[in-house]
């Protein structure tokens, strides 16, 4: 019985073994080949600070720890990594830019702040307004009662990040923000580093429910296959016992009786299609990407 079991799953186990081996080898190689970018070449930035904790959500030790982590990840990613915490409404501030940016929604106030902050300090690893990312976490509530955050990208980061990657990063950070802001910001830095490192983002943490459904579908298909193949099917046709020429139609006609025509007006399709997000210009005229969330 065991022999039959092993024989049945032979190739399945071999595939698992190969994938396991390849993954381990890839992990080992990766650990030896972490690349670093050349030294930062942007000399126009007016500050060496990367952690701006205006909302005072971090202890001094946590701030220092974050600075060290950011320094290390900046070299790995070749991007400036900025963190800003605030605790104020940005409505008045943002609305003063409406003459340049057009009408702004409440979730865009923090975007305006993030873009301006990045531009005003001339952040960018390679050049002013160049490669980098900024995460602005506003602990102050806007008029609608929500607290908004913004993850902004610029240069190479802007080109790398897709909408899905942005949503993934924001979701991961916001999940931890209220419980432990420090861990949330560490997540921001690490996730940004991983995303820039891999060049694309993959939702590695597949939700348990999705995984479960997927496995149930696969297992269900396997079980169905094992149970199939013994269907008791009728294999005679209607004319199996009728010899050629032994079926006669003495009458075979279809006579038209009458017809009826109805009409209706086709309703117009009034539903519109959704717009896309993505890249935008800051008040200073520089291109930024990014997305926001609230907590």
């Amino acid at each position: 019985m065991v022999k039959k079991y092993l024989s049945h799953f032979k190739y399945f186990f071999i595939v698992i073994g190969i994938v396991l081996t390849v993954t381990i080898i890839a992990m080992i190689i990766k650990s030896f080949t972490t690349s670093e970018y050349p030294d930062r070449s942007n000399l126009e930035t007016d500050t060496n600070e990367r952690v701006f904790d205006y909302a005072d959500k971090l202890t001094d030790a946590q701030e220092n720890s974050l600075r060290e982590l950011i320094l290390q990840k900046q070299k790995q990613t070749g991007c400036d990594i900025i963190l800003v915490t605030l605790e104020e409404s940005l409505e008045e501030y943002a609305l003063s830019y409406e003459n340049i940016l057009g009408t702004l929604s409440v979730d865009q106030y923090v975007m305006v702040y993030a873009d301006n902050f990045y531009d005003e300090h001339k952040f960018g690893y390679d050049q002013a307004y160049g490669d980098g990312a900024i995460y602005v976490d506003n602990w102050g509530r806007e008029r609608d009662g929500y607290r908004y955050t913004w993850f902004g990208t610029s240069g190479r980061a802007e080109a790398t990040y897709s909408d899905g990657m942005i949503d993934n990063l924001i979701e991961r950070v916001i999940d931890r923000t209220n419980e432990d802001p420090y861990q949330a910001y560490v997540t921001y830095v690490n996730q940004f580093s991983e995303d820039m490192d891999s060049g694309f983002s993959f939702n590695y943490d597949m939700p348990v429910s999705v995984m479960l459904v997927l496995l149930l579908i696969i297992t269900g298909s396997y079980v169905s296959y094992q149970l199939a193949g013994n269907r008791n099917i009728k294999t005679t046709r209607a004319d199996t016992y009728i010899a050629a020429g032994a079926l006669h139609f003495d009458r075979k006609d279809d006579q038209f009786l009458n017809k009826m025509v109805t009409s209706r007006r086709i309703p117009k399709n009034t539903s519109g299609s959704g717009g896309g997000g993505g890249h935008h210009m800051s008040a200073g005229g520089h291109s930024h990407g990014g997305g926001g969330g609230r907590h």
Binding site: M1, K4, Y5, H8, F9, F12, F13, I16, V19, L20, V22, T23, A26, M27, K30, S198, F202, M206, M211, L214, L215, L216, I218, T219, Y222, Q226, L227, N230, N232, I233, K234, T235, T236, A238, D239, T240, Y241, I242, A243, A246, L247, H248, F249, D250, R251, K252, D253, D254, Q255, F256, L257, N258, K259, M260, V261, T262, S263, R264, R265, I266
Partner: protein
């Protein structure tokens, strides 16, 4: 009667592989001679008691293992007109079962074990073959719908037709199972048989197999023959009505007239497999090899194999995700 080998005195049997009488003791071919028996209650070879029951035609003696044919059940009005000799022998039949089920891992291991397969018996099953004519006179109302648009308007045209069919179908050798021991539904699924191999009845084809005489006579089964003919005729009628979105019958008259009927024996291998107190019956057409039956499932095996797939795929997906993460 039994068939005895002239060379060695052993019991000879019909061998579907060589299509001749074969003595398994001395390998003699067509070396048989008939030993008649006056009575059905004892084995003509060893004298052991036999139970012929009501319908047994041929039987295997539990004592000496010889195959006995009951003379009086193949004589007179009981004599079959036709027989379709087994064309698939025991080895070929076992091979067919192995082929179909060896990859079905949920089945109990014993299902395909040699000791179990050895218990499979070849049986000649009685059938009545009817030549009959069926007449169908049909009138229906067909509806055809056409839809088109012009500008902002959509138009629907519904046309009604009177559909008339008057048809006659001549059925040749429509088979109806006349056995008391075989399920009608299963015997229907055994069809079709290739009638080109039908031959006049000869007792020698029975030797080596079990057999059953008809338990229901031709008149008793005429209604079932008509019912089968009606189903086929209605299917042919439906095939002749095309192009309608819906069809409503207005009038349908059906009648059959039976022309001739023949009593025939058809070959079926029967596998009676017992598992955890439940009976699983498999039938294999002795001519075409078609298999009909419910697969027995070993629950512990099904759980073990399914769990392996579930956990193995889970591990595989996780590994692939980890690999992508590393990339």
């Amino acid at each position: 009667m039994i068939f005895i080998c002239k060379n060695c005195g052993g019991s000879t049997v019909y061998d579907p592989d060589v299509k001749k009488m074969h003595c398994p003791y001395c390998d003699g071919l067509d070396s048989e001679e008939i030993r008649k028996s006056e009575q059905m209650s004892t084995c003509p070879s060893c004298g052991a008691p036999l139970d012929a029951g009501e319908v047994s035609l041929a039987q295997k003696c539990d004592n000496c293992g010889n195959y006995i044919i009951f003379d009086e059940r193949v004589e007179g009005e009981n004599r079959p007109h036709l027989i379709l000799p087994f064309m698939i022998g025991r080895d070929k039949m076992k091979e067919l079962l192995q082929q179909q089920f060896k990859k079905k891992v949920f089945m109990p291991d014993s299902f395909l074990s040699e000791s179990k397969l050895q218990t499979i018996e070849g049986i000649y099953v009685p059938f009545w073959l009817y030549d009959l004519e069926s007449d169908m006179d049909y009138e229906g109302k067909g509806t055809s719908v056409r839809i088109w648009t012009t500008g902002e308007m959509e138009y629907t045209e519904t046309s009604f037709y009177s559909v008339n069919r008057k048809m006659k179908a001549e059925f040749t050798r429509l088979p109806v199972d006349a056995s008391l021991n075989m399920e009608d539904g299963i015997m229907d699924l055994m069809e079709p048989y290739d009638y080109s191999a039908l031959s006049d009845f000869k007792e020698k084809y029975l030797s080596g197999f079990l057999g059953e005489k008809y338990g229901l006579n031709a008149e008793e089964l005429e209604a079932r023959a008509s019912e089968k003919a009606q189903i086929d005729t209605e299917n042919l009628l439906n095939n002749s009505i095309q192009g309608y979105q819906s069809i409503t019958p207005v009038r349908k008259e059906f009648q059959t007239s039976i022309k001739t009927k023949e009593y025939a024996l058809m070959p079926v291998w029967k596998y009676d497999y017992q598992y955890r107190g439940k009976q699983y019956l498999f039938h294999i057409n002795g001519q075409t090899g078609k298999i009909v039956g419910e697969v027995p499932i070993s629950v512990p095996k099904a759980i073990a194999y399914s769990l392996t797939v579930f956990l193995g795929c889970g591990a595989l997906i996780q590994l692939v995700l980890s690999f992508l993460e590393v990339l």
